[in-house]
């Protein structure tokens, strides 16, 4: 019943078999000054029942240069660490570092049901609230949110709409293999990076298409990553949700606009 209600409320383009293999949403905030490594463990003790496994990862660095990133971490006397907490079936993940909190969903096997944004956002809200409460309970203050992010990672495998890189115009109408004088052969590889300003310069939408080999099965694919980052006007939950909704709208409409009607048909466009 709930599923029907949620589906009925969907107004953005929707696909029966979207090529999305992973989505993430989350927030970047000003570094928490008192954050130290033991807090990872303390936080894990709160979520361990639902996220029983963890991995230590290198941090996501937002600084414009590596030297600035080093300075940023050294100035806080903090070990540059990020922690991943996995749910039981390893389809969802929470990422925590001293200045970010992200929630990922991924498709582990093709048979996995695609989880829509409207199913994932409530999960993010719950987990973010839990982290927020943890910070307050530990006297670490309230995070000052600077960026809300939504990312969709799509895999378009070779043989599913394209065979050579000259075929990419079949996927992406704004890319063409045509050259001025027909001297160049068919391209060996093609990668595309584009950036768009969001309404009122509130943020950016980035679309990146790159040829890749999936490590789990060594299949060649075009990885199409669509990321929207918005700047919230406050750190309130309502404003974060509004920003995430806006970012997600840009991701979905941007993805649909960037890809061809032929591929939409292949993916079973419903809306």
């Amino acid at each position: 019943m709930l599923e029907k209600t949620v589906a009925a409320a969907r107004t953005l383009p929707d696909f029966e078999n979207p090529p999305a293999v992973e989505t993430l949403m989350g927030v970047h905030f000003a570094p928490i000054e008192k954050w130290q490594s033991p807090y990872f463990g303390l936080f894990w003790s709160r979520i361990k029942k639902d996220y029983p496994r963890f991995e230590i990862q290198p941090p996501v660095v937002a600084a414009p240069t590596p030297a600035m990133a080093v300075a940023q971490f050294q100035s806080g006397f903090e070990l540059p660490t990020r922690c991943w907490f996995f749910n039981q079936d390893e389809t969802r993940l929470i990422q925590v570092q001293s200045n970010l909190f992200l929630h990922n969903w991924r498709k582990v096997v093709p048979a996995n049901k695609y989880l829509h944004y409207d199913e994932l956002r409530p999960i993010f809200e719950k987990e973010w609230q839990g982290f927020h409460n943890f910070l307050e309970d530990e006297g670490l203050g309230t995070p000052r949110v600077q960026i809300c992010e939504v990312t969709y990672v799509n895999h378009i495998d070779r043989g599913s709409g394209w065979d050579t890189f000259a075929d990419l115009s079949e996927l992406f109408p704004n890319w063409s293999p045509k050259t001025s004088e027909n001297y160049l052969p068919s391209p060996e590889l093609v990668a595309v990076n584009t950036s768009y300003a969001l309404n009122s310069d509130e943020g950016r939408l980035q679309i990146n298409a790159q040829p890749a080999v999936r490590q789990i099965d060594a299949k060649e694919t075009i990885q199409l990553t669509v990321t929207a980052r918005c700047k919230p006007s406050s750190s309130s939950s309502d404003e974060i949700c509004r920003c995430l909704d806006e970012a997600r709208k840009w991701v979905v409409l941007g993805f649909t606009d960037f890809t061809s009607p032929k591929m939409h048909k292949r993916w079973g466009r419903k809306l």
Binding site: Q57, P211, I216, T225
Partner: protein
Amino acid sequence: MSSASVWDRPTPNFFGPAQSQWSKVTSLSTAAPWVLNALGRIEDLARLPHNWDGYGSPRIDPRAMAAARRFVANVAFDGLPLPHIAPVLGGSVGLHWRCGDRELEFTFHPDGTVGFLKILGADLDREENLEEGTLRRDQETVGLKFLLWMVGAR
């Protein structure tokens, strides 16, 4: 044993920018040149007919080729030379690297196992210079450790 190019010890570079993406891919537009080349050469083995060696060997098994490609995609660090890639009796795929006085050979079998041979130095009569075995689990991780041993990384 097949030959491969001898070359100076390279420095592995694993320190690209960390990503918030979970699913792992090897980008072909930023990967070392040898990766694309190796993936293509492994794929080319599919063209070999039955009896490719004149001794009745079967065609190269797609599962062995997939395993070899997966391995390459997972150990794709800068600075490794292009391995010598060869068909192996029984439908398997062989990858062979040489770096200075160290050599590594991996054989990817259709049943999912990976045979390995590590060689240190030129004197093959000394038992301690050879190590061989079979990798059944965590093949990419162990293979990566062996490759780091070969290039002399600490």
